[in-house]
Symmetry: C2
Subunit: 482 residues, 2 copies
């Protein structure tokens, strides 16, 4: 399939030429988002927002199956609440936006625009929870949050972003930890089986964990430039916040106990990850399960007298596909088919079907895959089932391809020189590290690489820290990151 570059359209910078510009070009040509008149903020356009709507629907269903309920807490947090948990305020204070005036007057106490909602929620949870019978408390909210970032980038890091934040309270450490891991596994499943993004689930180092958490679990994905993207995180908060916000319950012996808490979130940044995992130099590539349009049908009408026949067969085909639950768009615009091919290619629609008088005469259609650019003739008999199977194949292939790419760019190293070289070349590097935060900071300072996670599934293996030579029992994942 040849792209027709003759239209007056923005061309896409290639990945090899300028990876960053390529990413921004994809967002522009696929019509996903754009910069807002407010610095660092983003306008999510309908075709981009549809990806977020699909994400919301899939995750919301998965959360609810585990007993989580949605609620809504205020956008504004009194400054004194944010300040109550020491590590938390240190983590967030530098990047908050403050409302100081409202209704024409100066406020007595400035309000923080929520960067995350632990503090306001837990202040309220302390009133909601009385006894062990009120536990577990399983709350989620879909909301906008604001973090004043210096360097922003569409989807990946914006001053305001959309996310969900789950917050739970449990009677025991074990139950809270199990919940934190359960929610991480929902994110892993969503990443792999919907967004077709392979992720490495693991635990953050002490330096990289969430401000105020006992432990942070994460799913780390590799982008095409070899950099890591934190896909989503889930925190075992221990009793840190419970002690500060007095989240207590009476246990079965009527003894007052502090609750064990978790919080977990996934944001619109995952859409940045989706774009960077699959797209190519021709445009966006979407996995079928997250695409708002799974199949685009392009009627080919070479002569006017073909219009009625092609129109009828196109309608029948679209209905046929919709009847088995596929999301289908028929592009009936009065422009050349090549122009349409080009547009839907840029927009990453997984499957394109071309149907014209010759196809109809042969009882076939031409089917093109976006991910491989492969074009094949399909018989019209059983077309719905065939397309459905093809979409499943594309979904699996995209995950496998991304996984193979990541594995190719993941290396184990045992010398410092090799470490520096492999990090510089844009790899995920599995290396020994003894757990010393100072050494971690030194490595970051020297190479720009951070510990993305201590993978859950990394086998025990005796070795020595890549930098300090101290004894180590496990390899961890180092990489540069977004």
């Amino acid at each position: 399939m040849k792209s027709t570059q003759s239209f007056e359209e923005k061309s896409i910078t290639s990945r090899a030429e300028d990876y960053n510009q390529w990413y921004l070009d994809i967002i522009e040509v696929a019509d996903l988002a754009e910069h807002a008149p407010v610095k660092g903020c983003m306008i999510i356009k309908p075709y981009g927002y549809a990806l977020w709507e699909k994400t919301q629907r899939i995750l919301d269903d998965a959360f609810k199956k585990t007993g989580v309920q949605n609620a809504y807490f205020p956008l504004f947090i009194p400054e004194r609440l944010l300040k109550r948990e020491e590590a938390h305020v240190e983590g967030f204070a530098p990047e908050v936006a403050m409302v100081t005036h409202a209704g024409g007057k100066k406020l007595e106490e400035p309000l923080v625009v929520r960067p995350t909602s632990e503090t306001i929620m837990y202040d309220v949870f302390s009133k909601w929870i009385r006894s062990h019978r009120d536990l577990p408390l399983l709350i989620n909210q879909w909301a906008n949050v604001v973090r004043w970032e210096m360097r922003t980038k569409l989807f990946l890091r914006t001053t305001e972003f959309l996310w969900q934040e789950g917050h739970t309270v449990h009677a025991t450490y074990e139950e809270a930890d199990e919940r934190a891991r359960m929610m991480l596994d929902i994110y892993r499943d969503f990443a792999e089986n919907y967004m077709a993004i392979p992720v490495i689930p693991g635990q953050k180092s002490e330096s990289e964990k969430f401000a105020g958490a006992h432990a942070t679990y994460t799913c780390e994905a590799m982008m095409q430039d070899g950099k890591a993207l934190q896909f989503a995180t889930s925190h075992n908060l221990g009793q840190n916040f419970a002690k500060v916000f007095d989240v207590t319950f009476l246990d079965e012996q009527s003894t007052k106990q502090y609750g064990w808490q978790t919080s977990w979130g996934l944001s619109t940044r995952t859409i940045g990850g989706l774009i960077m995992t699959h797209s190519d130099d021709k445009g966006l590539v979407l996995p079928p399960k997250i695409a708002s349009i799974q199949v685009v049908i392009i009627p080919i009408v070479p002569k006017e007298w073909d219009a009625e026949l092609v129109g009828e067969e196109t309608r029948a085909l679209a209905e046929n596909l919709r009847n088995i639950g596929l999301s289908v768009h028929v592009d009936k615009r009065d422009i050349r088919p090549g122009e349409k091919f080009y547009e839907w290619e840029k927009k990453g629609v997984p499957v394109r079907i071309e149907i014209g008088p010759k196809d109809i005469a042969a009882n076939t259609v031409v089917v093109a895959r976006r991910d491989t650019s492969e074009k094949k003739v399909f018989p019209l008999t059983n077309i719905a089932e065939e397309i459905s199977v093809l979409l499943d194949t594309i979904q699996v292939d995209m995950l496998m391809r991304a996984k193979a790419y990541r594995e190719e760019k993941t290396v184990s190293v045992d010398t410092w020189d090799a470490f520096v070289e492999k990090i510089e070349a844009g790899n995920f590097v599995l290396a020994h590290w003894s757990g010393d935060a100072k050494v971690e900071a030194e490595i970051k300072e020297l190479t720009g690489a951070t510990i993305r996670c201590v993978p859950f599934e990394q086998p025990e293996e005796e070795g020595v820290c890549i930098k300090s030579g101290k004894a180590s029992h496990k390899r961890v994942v180092f990489a540069k990151s977004y």
Copy 2:
């Protein structure tokens, strides 16, 4: 059915005693929402938020059927943008919240937390639209907005609230006006056929219209105290904003034209209207189509040896009802049935089913309607279909009851004394008014009543203004309002 008042529960103030306190009590006992630590803000609790989720799902589907697409625009609006449309800024400036500091620094230009998004959207629309082929542009967003209100009340008027705001651009006045009316009709349909709230669709007077609009269409509902609640509004914006924000397009003759715009919104305040339309002195009453739990099943286990039998039959019954798409909750808690009846009554679940060993022996169940408190024995044969029919009946009955109540409290008057008396007594008053804004203001000053709307379906009728005696061709709806 007798309420057991012996539990340590908050009792509900009766409507007759204190209508305002009754409303707040219902919200508390039904666990819908509560005040946040930030003045004027609200925490929407899971049982209350579920009503908003249902609202979102129903309206979102209805919008999308008319071609509307969702998008997301930033929370923050640069002050200069808000100030561009004169009437608009006058309407909103007194109630905006301002971000003046962020990231530890004073901002060069203060940011307004969106009270509504006309200004930021239209600034962007002016770049999106080039030609008549880009029209109509049909955008909606689900978002939080902030208006600094002096006197707040849960759901009805809160500093931050949740809503959807639709914004469209068209090539002609007629098409824009048709769209504004179409969206109002979606709100009317939602009010009447889902929330069972009868509404009067009509047009706002010049004084009551939206700041910056050409015409505002509204759906007005009557609460049980006879006051009006503006359920939702839809604005024909004419070219007012288009001229200020340069929303232009090239028509088929390649001549530059200003776009014709609409905006329309519905907020969490409708949940306040839902509560106030149907609830009674025993608690919340929910119409089946908006209830998150439509049927609650209470297993009655008088002796321990009944547990297995009752458990099995309860499971079968619940599955039976869920199979036809009903939302069912089985209350298996180890507390007395009376306590459960009382709780679900307060929470407004439309249908309660009691099932015990005697019922099972007789192949029946006891079914109680929340709206009428009626209790009946139903045969277990065909129970799912019977319950489904009962829910439909309840849905229709609730609308009819609310409609009858409104009609009883709606009067036509032709003298000023009668007008004052009927307004004072909490009625919707149909009276002649000549269209003079000064007289409208005088009437408001003297009685507290405003013109809720000029109903679309009010017949032409010659008369004289109730206050000024000037000639009038139509009656309008006067009432006190929320």
